[in-house]
């Protein structure tokens, strides 16, 4: 199959993720959007690895998965903390620091 389709899907996923970050205020959803962005990159990498035939792309994918997992851990901790302190998941609520 034409490899370009993989890239297209990947780019779309990335864009959807990005737009989600911009539009959603719920921290959890926002967070899922970031994961979506990371995984769309994984798709690109995997497709490219298939195209080039080397191991580099696949190795990269593994590491991205690890990093994404670590980000989940940290991100969830922060969100839990936000919820306990403020009783909300709205990322626009913390606004003590600005200007």
């Amino acid at each position: 199959m034409e490899i370009g389709y993989y890239y297209a899907v990947s780019a779309l996923l990335f864009t959807i993720g990005f737009v989600g970050v911009l539009l959603r205020r719920n921290a959890i959803v926002l967070f899922m959007c970031i994961e979506l962005m990371l995984n769309s990159v994984n798709l690109t990498l995997a497709a490219a690895a298939r195209m080039w035939g080397g191991p580099d792309g696949q190795v990269f994918v593994f590491f991205v998965i690890v990093v994404a997992a670590a980000e989940v851990v940290v991100g969830l901790a922060l969100i839990v903390n936000l919820f306990f302190r403020r009783g909300t998941l709205d990322v626009d609520v913390p606004q003590l620091l600005r200007y």
Binding site: F18, L22, L23, R25, D92, Q95, L96, R98, Y99
Partner: protein
């Protein structure tokens, strides 16, 4: 004529790298005051007031070492380079801490350390009882060290190091009595104005490096033959931009009068004798580059002349004992730049030296008077101090005559020689401005002197003027003696010993080929200069001694009743009335207004512009994390767009 023989000394200095003799330990000259600064700060607790003596000792050592260096240089004239460790060395850009010692350095060293030593001693009496007495001496030492680094540096960057450090210590000293609000604003104004100059200086350094591939004086001067005139022109103007800020020239002179908020010994040392002359020193040091572009020099000459005139006009209407001297300093600095601009480098330095003597003296006199008058500074509320303060009076008399240009005092020689030189180099209009400024100088300084020391006392009974303590009068006497005989001894005639000594250290103007402005010769020019002084003093005498000044500021002639004017309305009086008082006063007030509203406004406005830009763009920082991400998107799209367009 004697004079033409003096034109351009063809003798040039040989460059000698040495570590022998006093020059070998010349690096101690700035280090000792620096150690003094640290020591005073550290010892304040244990030594209390006596810590001041450490500072005085340090400046005395610096002075003695300077004398040693001067003797070695003058004994065997040459340009000595004392190699010292490297400061910065990165990819072909090498800057060392080397010292550069020639005749010009020797003169500057003697003036700086000499005046500094006297001011240190003077401050013992003047600052007595101040809660931060020791701190003051520490700062004085810091300033001295910085100034010496400036004078000794063998490249533009080391000079700039000293340049910034003198600025820094000057802010510390201007703001020394920071309890009073005007001091803070004065320090700020000085800082901002000087930053403007620094930018110009820095750009000049980059240009110099780009042109010469080095910042070292010896290496730069060796390449002046191949220097393009246009590059030299740009370089001169940029350097002058830096010098104009430090030496208070149009349009950057505004900070100096405000800086008088600091203690008076500081005004004497920093804002009259040494720091403000750093710009003059810089220009003369770079004179081998200056002579490459005569148009650049002409601009300097004109700015100097206009500064001299403007400041003299303003000084005529100042009523604060120190403000008069401050504007006078600006005016005299203008004289020095005027001299540089017309190619009279040695004359400029000569005037720098005599000015350090008499202006230092006059500021110390002012300090002594303020001390005696319980911190009053309005000259209209003084008068008749002659009897109460005999030493101050006699030394002030000498200082007054010296600055007014009355022979045989120091100021006469230096000022006259600048005027003569301007005429003989063909700058007629500048020569005329110089003559007018000479008249004005004699006038406002006489006004200052008469109002303070002559006539009947115009202060109340609550002030009991008294002579200052010995530690203050001794420096006065020393400076008075120097002001009296300094000119005569150093350089009574053109091509005197001072010029012959200094000649090889400054740029050679023989190739420029100056033509005299007219056919007048020295026997005519010198009496003209003397006449200028006499006229100025005479008019002031009519106004401020012969007339009743007991009503204070109201007695200023322009404000007097018409009848009183007519009483003195013989021809000369009337003419000068209109020139000096009507016109001059109006101009002076106009400029004072300009200074207070426009220039101050610009200085404050520069800050305000920054604030406005900051205020208007802080809205970007919404605090909303998603808007920050949106900025990513915008930035990313912009970059992608730019990159894609370029890839095409």
């Amino acid at each position: 004529m004697i004079l033409l023989a003096a034109e351009g000394s063809t003798v040039t200095n040989e460059v000698i790298t040495t570590t022998s003799g006093v020059i070998g330990i010349a690096w101690l000259i700035p280090i000792v005051p620096l150690l003094g600064f640290v020591a005073v700060l550290l010892l304040t607790r244990s030594l209390m007031d006596r810590a001041a003596y450490v500072a005085i000792g340090a400046s005395a050592v610096a002075f003695l070492l300077s004398v040693g260096v001067a003797l070695q240089v003058l004994g065997d004239p040459a340009t000595y380079v004392r190699p010292l460790p490297t400061w910065i060395d990165v990819g072909g850009f090498t800057v060392t801490y080397d010292l550069y010692i020639d005749q010009l350095t020797a003169v500057m060293l003697l003036v700086v350390t000499g005046v500094a030593l006297l001011v240190h001693i003077y401050s013992v009496g003047y600052m007595e009882g101040d809660p931060r007495y020791e701190r003051f001496f520490a700062y004085l030492n810091l300033f001295l060290a910085s100034m010496l680094i400036l004078v000794l540096g063998a490249n533009l960057l080391t000079l700039f190091l000293g340049w910034e450090l003198v600025g820094l210590s000057s802010y510390l000293l201007i703001g020394f009595w920071f309890e009073k609000p005007e001091f803070a604003s004065a320090a700020k104004k000085a800082f901002i104005t000087n930053r403007v100059g620094d930018v110009s200086f820095m750009i000049a350094m980059f240009l110099a490096f780009a042109t010469f591939g080095t910042l070292g004086f010896t290496e730069m001067f060796a390449q002046t033959d191949t220097l393009a005139t246009t590059t030299a022109f740009a370089l001169i103007l940029l350097l002058f931009g830096g010098a104009a800020a430090k030496s208070a020239q149009i349009p950057l002179y505004v900070w100096l009068p405000d800086a008088m908020a600091g203690p008076t010994p500081v005004s004497a040392l920093i804002h009259a004798a040494t720091m403000v002359t750093a710009g003059v020193y810089l220009a003369v040091r770079m004179s081998p580059v200056l002579i490459v572009s005569v148009p650049g020099m002409v601009i300097i000459a004109w700015i100097g002349a206009l500064t001299a005139l403007l400041a003299a006009l303003i000084a005529m209407r100042q009523n604060d004992i120190k403000k008069v001297l401050a504007y006078s300093t600006v005016s005299q600095l203008g004289y020095m730049f005027m001299a540089i601009g017309v190619g009279a480098f040695r004359e400029s330095i000569f005037h720098l030296v005599t000015h350090a003597f008499f202006k230092g003296l006059l500021f110390l006199v002012a300090g002594s008077v303020i001390h005696a008058m319980a911190n009053r500074t309005d000259i209209w509320r003084m008068g008749g101090l002659r009897t109460a303060m005999p030493v101050t009076f006699w030394t002030a008399l000498i200082g007054w005559l010296a600055i007014s240009g009355v022979p045989p005092f120091a100021g006469f020689f230096s000022k006259d020689q600048i005027l003569t030189e301007a005429y003989l180099h063909g700058y007629g209009p500048i020569w005329i401005i110089g003559l007018i400024v000479a008249v004005l100088t004699a006038f406002y300084m006489s006004r200052w002197f008469f109002l303070i020391f002559l006539g009947a006392p115009r202060f109340g009974d609550e002030v009991l003027p008294h002579e200052s303590p010995r530690s203050m009068t001794v420096p006065l006497i020393v400076l008075a003696v120097l002001s009296a005989v300094g000119g005569l001894l150093l350089n009574p005639i053109h091509d005197g010993p001072f010029y012959r000594t200094l000649g090889p250290a400054v740029g050679d103007i023989t190739d420029i080929g100056y033509e005299p402005f007219g056919s007048l010769t020295e026997p005519v020019l010198i009496p003209l200069a003397i006449l200028a002084a006499v006229v100025g003093i005479g008019v002031a005498y009519l106004f401020y001694v012969r007339r009743d000044v007991s009503m204070g500021e109201l007695a200023e002639p322009i404000r007097g009743p018409v009848a009183e004017l007519e009483e003195h309305a013989f021809y000369v009086d009337a003419a000068y009335e209109s020139i000096f008082v009507r016109f001059g006063g109006a101009v002076a007030r106009a400029f004072a207004w300009f200074d207070a509203n426009v220039v101050d406004g610009v200085v404050r406005g520069a800050g305000a512009v920054a604030v406005v830009i900051g205020r208007s763009s802080r809205g970007i920082q919404t605090g909303l994390v998603r808007s920050y991400v949106a900025a990513f998107l915008a930035g990313a799209l912009a970059i992608v767009a730019v990159v894609l367009v370029q890839v095409r």
